[in-house]
Amino acid sequence: MEKYTWRILRGQPLRLALTVGGVALCLMLMFFLLAVYRGVAEGSVEYIRSCPADLWVLQHNSTNILRGSSMISTPQATALREFAGIAQVGSVLFVLSASGVRGRDGTLFLTGFEPETGLGGPPRLVAGVSVQRDDEIVLDSCYAAKYDIHVGDRIWIQDWKLKVVGVSSGTNAFVIQYAFVTLNFAQRLVGISELATCFIIRLRDGISAPVMARRIRMDVPGVDVYDWETFLTNNIAEMESGFLPLLYTVAAIGVVVLTIILSLLLGVNILERRRDFAVLKILGAPAAFQKRLVIAQALLITLAACAVALLAYFPMVWMVERLAPEVSTRSSILQIGTVVLVAGVMSLVAALMATRRLRRIYILEVCL
């Protein structure tokens, strides 16, 4: 049966190539969407994941830093430093800011931190050093690559010209990239001194984070306190709520379109081979055998498309990441396996839809 199926498909090489190509492109789209999703999902929270915080303190009712504004006052940090069991407190101020380099405008997620503690600063440096002075900045590596900026170059942040002293990784949130400046500079930029978005707290060894969180909530008015894991989960959930529906919609449309196209193609193949199917019927072929022929065609097309998609996908990703460095993708065997599995199910559904045409092939009409 496999031979027969292959010969049927091989009989129309151009159609086979177009179908396999179309299905492969659709699978590549799914691979890519999932890889972008993981890239964004991990990239967006990489900063938080890498931050050596035991506790995050934000304004009351603020749960994350990705899509929420929190405003707290830096003197509260001074009060927190007095708590027994707290080793370090770092104030961080996030500001969305316009940037300009060599006449090209961009936007940065400026992270103002205190160089003395380093808390909230760049998680990993791939070039240069961290910020020490108010006229210095560390840029994300994707942003730097996109605008061709190197250590030692200068960049406009609104009306200030800052010197690029370092380049960081793990700070690409896909739609925007982190940049690191001093807390002083960030406060000067918004025009409010003593303003912070959050405090990052490190505890002394042996101090319980939940116990300390409860104490801060009781003693410091107007703040919420999260341990590292809860805060990370909050931010992931926030990112997913904005991004996942879009991803699912595009992926679902892709799957539906592909299923319909594959089903139509298999239907055309059945109609073109109606004489053969009628012959099979008159020879006493069981209905299941005829269905298996169509299903085998669908699976062969999908298998070939998976192979083509896998071969073409990695060079395509390499090219996309060169052309658009901010597009960060992460692929895994599990993702690829999931897409291949979905493709298999999709081809089965398409084949079953197409096999309805078999019922409308009448032996008398074709053979006698």
């Binding site: 009989g11 099979l280 006493g284």
Partner: protein, 239 residues
């Protein structure tokens, strides 16, 4: 009807009428046909175009149901068969040969023959061995791996005959099997079918215009306007 007779009687048509269309479009394709088909004979159905030959054949195959009358196929009323039972009947007990051969072009000669055997329940290896034996008997063993488009008309019909005979079915229904062949090839095919009927004690029903086939038929049914005009013994019955 005694048991011996029952075993030999394959198809019985009793007052079978088949009507297509209605009103002014109404056509009586078959009109009160009564006929019994037994094993061991080559029955030739002749008649002008439109006389109902092919309709008769399709009724015998259980492909169409009668408007009136009863068709008993292998001892059972044809309307009592479920679609699955009819499919199994076609797989195991009936063979077909067509004027246009109806071979599957994407399968080799051997695969065309063995595919039908697989539906009848033969294993792959057994089907392949039996298929090769049969092709050898028909002088087609060297063409076993070829595809139908590479064959001559006569070769194609020999493959079609091999496909019909391969399963050792009790009933072979042939629609104009010599219609596309020259006289020599036609002779070869009808000889093959005639031998199959007599030597293997099978029944072959042939629908044809070809007068030459009368030399091989045991009985000849003449159809005209959907009615049996006459049934005569053919020269094949003298052999």
């Amino acid at each position: 009807m005694n048991e011996q007779e029952n075993m030999c009687t394959l198809v019985v048509l009793s007052g079978v009428t088949k009507v297509f269309g209605a009103g002014e479009q109404r056509v009586n394709a078959l009109d009160h046909i009564s006929l019994t088909v037994r094993s061991g004979e080559l029955l030739l159905v002749m008649g002008p175009s439109g006389s109902g030959k092919t309709t008769l054949l399709s009724m015998m195959a259980g492909l169409a149901k009668p408007t009136e009358g009863i068709i008993r196929l292998f001892g059972r009323d044809v309307v009592s068969f479920s679609p699955r039972e009819l499919q199994q009947l076609r797989a195991r007990r009936m063979g077909f040969i067509f004027q246009t051969f109806l071979l599957i072009d994407a399968l080799t000669v051997l695969e065309n023959v063995t595919l039908a055997m697989r539906f009848a329940g033969h294993g792959r290896r057994e089907a392949s061995r039996l298929g090769m034996d049969l092709l050898a008997r028909l002088g087609m063993e060297t063409r076993a791996r070829h595809f139908p488009p590479a064959l001559s008309q006569g070769e194609k019909q020999r493959v079609a005959a091999a496909r019909a005979m391969a399963r050792d079915t009790e009933l072979i229904l042939a629609d104009e099997p010599t219609g596309s062949l020259d006289s020599q090839q036609g002779f070869l095919i009808i000889r093959l079918l005639s031998d199959h009927a007599r030597i293997e004690n099978r029944c072959v029903v042939v629908v044809s215009h070809d007068q030459r086939l009368a030399d091989f038929a045991d009985r000849i049914v003449h159809l005209e306007d959907g009615r049996i005009r006459s049934i005569e013994n053919g020269q094949g019955s003298d052999r």
